[in-house]
Symmetry: C2
Subunit: 127 residues, 2 copies
Amino acid sequence: MMNTDTPSEPTCYGLNKLVDEPTERIETLQSLVPSNEDTEQKQEIFKALANEDRIRILEILREGERCVCELQAALEAPQSTVATHLRKLKDAGLVKSRKQGTWRLYRTADTAAFELLNLAEAMRDDE
Amino acid sequence: MMNTDTPSEPTCYGLNKLVDEPTERIETLQSLVPSNEDTEQKQEIFKALANEDRIRILEILREGERCVCELQAALEAPQSTVATHLRKLKDAGLVKSRKQGTWRLYRTADTAAFELLNLAEAMRDDE
DNA sequence: ATACTATATCGTGATATCCCGAAATATATA
DNA sequence: TATATATTTCGGGATATCACGATATAGTAT
């Protein structure tokens, strides 16, 4: 009754039963779980992407760098809202910025940011 | 003073000034913003990914399909918590499932799900 | 039917995020 | 210095998400 490898006939059991039963199966599963730092970093990126306005900002930045007030106009959102979004994108490493006079120009930090959007887009089609 | 193309000398202005000034610049920016459905769908995917446990679940599913109680053991999380995570992943179209006896086996719906994790992973390195 | 296992949903308090006005900071210009 | 524009940060109420026990549902076996 203890099949340890393929899940064609999965070995399942109550969690309470499980704790004092040192099966190697659980160790195997847990070895697949990545480290905390690893997971936390990914989580921060996905959290930054988990907002419609921030997705729109990145879409606009596909075309090149923009200052805050341009994004503000495009999104029709209050200035402080846009600034907060940009802060979050920056903290996650998705965008970078440079100062030019009184303006601050934002750009995508990495083409991977666009690829993330592309992949999410592609998921709609094939299923 | 009205540079409409490159942002080397960006045309910025207060939002209040802006509303009654129909510059084509704003229209251009807004044309870059994707449709609502488009953005909403991406947002749902990224929201589903914006959680450490759900990222861990997907990492485990790289190796093949698993039943709920296996994930429960690997994550050391209560059963209802894991079930709720799986629901969210399923609603976002990231995982699929099939019934086998009393078990329900979950698997990744699309390889794009793994690629999203890979891309997020890769972003740490180059910056 | 009864019992047992596996999974899903519900209800809810704790926590996090969102949105945005108000105030603070920074830079250029008169 | 005073003024105007651009941007960031702060404060806090509204809203959403989280984790999880309790409960419900479904399948299997006796």
